[in-house]
Amino acid sequence: MSLIKVCAVSKSYEGGDGAVEALTNINLEIREGEFLALMGPSGSGKSTLLSILGGLNPPTSGKLIIDDIDVYALNSERLADFRHEYVGFVFQQYQLIPYLTALENVMLPLSITSRSGKEQRDMAQTVLAKVGLGTKSLRLPNQLSGGEQNRVAIARAIVNRPAIIFADEPTGSLDSKTAKELLELFQALNQDGLTIIMVTHNQENLAWVTRAIYIRDGFLSQIPQEF
């Protein structure tokens, strides 16, 4: 069953030399429980597609349907609610709030819910333990390694139990050992039923995903042999 339907989505940006087409007529269906890799060279439009899928960046034309919701037909506040309910993001540079501890960073999505402080804390602590950081919950981001920060970012993305995780180059700045641990974590989460869409340009990551799609110059295409 399709969880995400991308219908004839195009995206163009106004540049100095006129409109630049970042994505052209993308049609795509993603089933619930998939672990999908979005691949392609730099500037191919994969991050743009990820931001559109995540409800952050409205397309110039076309529709995005997630769980039968026409995402970009929602007004800005309902769109924020949609992101809160359906989506978890793992950003490229982790993007943790530097003045909040690991635990508080994970509690961020819960801070705008009606859950009690204790409930929030218990949920965040459980998720941090799940990503292997149960003992480092009171550390600030600058007291954690890159891999640990990435795990905190993942914990923050999943604490609210969203349907989909979007990860943008999550292994890009990690050494191979840490990257492997991270992908194992993603795989475990995926096996728990979470749909994961990951932007990557690393071919080795394909071993962990259930499907991969390739984007070149704003079009979906076949994965090249040399990739």
């Binding site: 991050s47 743009t48 990820l50 931001s51 995540g54 952050l56 960046n57 800005s76 506040e77 924020a80 609610d81 949609f82 992101r83 809160h84 309910e85 989506v87 978890g88 993001f89 950003f91 490229q92 540079q93 993007q95 709030i97 530097p98 003045y99 909040l100 508080e104 509690m107 961020l108 999505p109 819960l110 801070s111 705008i112 402080g117 929030q120 804390r121 923050r156 609210n160 943008d168």
Partner: protein
Amino acid sequence: MRLTNIVVQNLRRRKMRSSLLMLSVIIGVASIIFLYTTTQAMQEDVANKLDQFGSNILVLPDTEQSLTFGGITVEAPTQIKELDMSLIPLMQTIKNKETLATIAPKLLANTKLKGREILLLGVDFPQEFQLKKWWKVDGLEKNQIPSADQVILGSDIASSLGLIPLQTVTILGQDFKIAGVIQPTGSTENDQAVFMDLAVLQKLTNRPNAISLIETAALCYTCPIEEVTQQLSDKLPGTKVTALMSSLESRDDTVNRFNLFARSVSLILLIASSLVITITMKSSVEERTREIGIFRAIGFRKRHIIIIILGEAGFLSLLGGLLGYILGMSMAVSSGSELMKAQVHISWQPNLLIYALSASLIIGLTASLYPALKAARLDPTESLRYL
């Protein structure tokens, strides 16, 4: 965790910026509090001093005919429809009786001294001296009150008749010792009058209990003179009660100038503080663009962003308002009176704390509204450009 935790944690992290913003509120509030309390003290001091220089209210017989005395209008003594001493206790029954600090009854009479027509005033000396604090009387010791067989002379009458203290003069057939001569006052009537004990003059003129007019000093900085005048009119039938408007207008004018000055400076300080808050919060928002993008990406609504930004500004403004109040009041209490050369003691005014907190909160929130709205309108994708 609540949004307030985010507010507090961010303020703790950005100590320098938070301190600068709070400092601008502290300086603004402290200056306004200091200015307000010291100006208030100056107003009170000026009012007290003005009150010391004469009566505010005159009680006269209610009749059409009159003459001028001491810059005020009184009846001609020969045609006077007199008042009597029973009015004095009545005056002390009005609603604002506590404002009537001095009640000085007077009996006016004409007589001849050394062949010259003079104005004779029977006065209650303790009350008269209380009322005319600026009098300097040659021949009288400090706080000495003339006795019943003594008179004091105005400077003009003394010099024109060649009279000096300790001489004896005969008035209405009775000998009086000259207890003192009043130094020139600038008031023709005072300088040309002879002052003696009221009861003695009443006896000598065979007008027991009679008085011609009553001067009263309403030592009230804030009391409504018009109301006191009306209350006296109501209590004293057959009298005409008049507030000395020249004195009031002069006082009002002085008070108004102080007020205008204080308000102008306060307004400038308010504008300056507001601008500092707006600029600081705007730059804070710009510095936190990416952070706001993260909040929006994980589902924060625009109002959550506004709450965070306004929460920070409100918290700092309240704290700044509190510290500004403490600093401003401390300065005013410790050195305000001395600095302004005022003789009024400035005391702590807890009610100003509520005004200080309310004003600083309103200014802080208003000045931060634009940066908060700007933050809420940030496009999450633009904020996270790398996506």
